[in-house]
Amino acid sequence: MSEPKVFEKPLGMRDFLPDMAERKRFLELRIQRVMEQWGYREIITPTLEFYDTVGAASATLTNRMFKLLDREGHTLVLRPDMTAPIARVAASLTDAPYPLRFLYHASVYRAQEQEAGRNAEFYQTGVELLGEASPGADAEVMALALSCLQEAGVKGYKLALGHVGLLDGLLEENVDDPRLRAELKEDLLRRDYVAFRQRLEQSALSCGQQERLLALLHVYRGEEGLSALSRLVGGPRSQEALVNLQEIWELLNGYGVSQDVILDLTLIGFLNYYTGAVFEGFAEGYGFPVLSGGRYDHLLRRFGTDAPATGFALKVDRLLEVSQIQPEQPERVVVAYRPGQIRQAIARAQALRRAQPPKAVEMIALPDGWEAERRAAFVARQKRRGVDEVVFLEGEGLT
């Protein structure tokens, strides 16, 4: 491999220059305020975790994790998501006063194979609600997710809601062969409906069974969806899941957000990770989901505690692309002074910084023998830098 150029970064890593960094911070804080209003508190966990614990519990594929060795030879990973680290923390809190409501801002890391330009470091802001199995918890995180999208200035957002229990239940009730069941689920996971249909047609399943499974592929709007689904369920597992979905729907109605939610049973997320309601958030005119989440009741078991949990992560990088909101910036002022005027300049700058509303003040020394004729050019240059106002300390006041 050739030597990296001095300005190069490792593949998939990015710099955020001030304009973008300010937008990102502004958006994160706006969203954090909403999460705090719902009782969530910030938690910070380390960037490096053990591969054998957090890495293995994560939904991310092993071959997409960044791994390194510590001095004792343990394999470490750059955290591939925040859900597993938070589950680790929650499980370690003895006598944890459940429910726990955590929020986080963190970068997560996933190695990319396909394209050179794709990111490998992602910024996520999210919540985890641990120790609550009720449909109220599912509805709460979904309603909160919608509030966050609204607060982030996302236009035309929608949430797609699926249910792993309902999907698994319907597959179990209609397909006896566990291998065929796994293959059908795999087809849905790969979003390959053509293969799903072909597999059904070639199977020995009855017409009724095939029809019930094909109905899975529909995307439904709200109530019509729930009544359509009630005609499909036949066994205890899917029945229980349907009741759960209906209760969640009722509560989403209670939050007044059900018009922003569509039902999509093919939503699985990751294989064998989520256990109940799962959801993804979309913005109009943007090709990738801007958030994803769901219930994962088995994860904490891997850390030695049994507690149900749900949560979601907003993809901050994508939100930055769809958000219509610009940060509120203080007025930017330059105090320009001649040699010998630095004390007055400091006093002036400090006063402006303490003014109401406070200003963002830079001090710039003018060279010796600076002539007043050059003032217009100086001001023009500062305006190009985004400065709103230039103050010359020459006894002539503001320009």
Binding site: Y193, A195, Q198, V219, F282, E284, G287
Partner: protein, 211 residues
């Protein structure tokens, strides 16, 4: 209602795709294929067509630059893009095959040239064969003739190109048809529009297979 952007592949499949869409009731302009325009608005509908290289159609759809698209299964397998595969359009039918000189039959392969390096290496790996895969961008048939590789992996429809170059099909790998694909967000956000298009095409396909 927002527009539905359909990505169509230039070249081999375009004529059949054009016919299928027209018969399914989409008022496409007849000169779609001859025109040099890459972006066509269909009057009196909420539909726009973009014409892309076949290998690029899944990319436009994955990123949401197009809502739906028509792509060959060969391209989908090679690229493994995150898109919905909604319907087998049964056009552009052909097969992926291993081909080479007749005397190569039954002999182990060391080097294989192809436009489909992912598919080829997966195929040989799954069979436990250790094969070096060489990526080429066209005129693949040259590879066995020049000794660059013993065999090629490519799509075969009539087999004429192979015959004209003195090559034979050594192994059929899998049948290939064109598929209707959709962006994962568009499929939820523009579900009704996409479902309407799907419905029209399904009905046309049923009519054709019935006749």
């Amino acid at each position: 209602m927002s527009h539905l952007v359909i990505a169509l592949p230039k070249g081999r499949i375009l004529e059949e795709a054009h016919q299928l869409l027209t018969k399914a009731g989409l008022p496409l302009p007849p000169e779609l294929e001859d025109s040099r325009k890459l972006w066509v608005r269909i009057p009196e509908t909420a539909i726009e067509i973009i014409l892309a290289k076949p290998m690029d159609v899944p990319t436009y759809v994955e990123y949401g630059a197009a809502d739906v698209g028509i792509a060959g299964k060969d391209v989908l397998l090679e690229q493994s893009r995150d898109v919905y595969e909604l319907l087998d359009l049964q056009i552009g039918a052909c097969r992926l095959s291993v081909a080479g000189l007749a005397e190569q039959a039954g002999r182990p392969l060391r080097r294989v040239a192809t436009k489909y390096p992912q598919i080829a290496s997966q195929y040989f790996r799954a069979k436990g064969q250790q094969v070096e895969v060489i990526q080429l961008h066209g005129s693949i048939e040259l590879a066995p003739l020049t000794g660059l590789a013993e065999a090629i992996v490519d799509i075969v429809s009539t087999g004429r190109t192979l015959r004209e170059n003195g090559l034979v099909e050594l192994e059929e790998m899998m049948p290939i048809t064109a598929r209707l694909i959709a962006n994962r967000v568009s499929y939820r956000m523009k579900y009704r529009q996409i479902e309407m298009l799907l419905d029209k095409m399904r009905r046309q396909l049923a009519k054709e297979s019935g006749s």
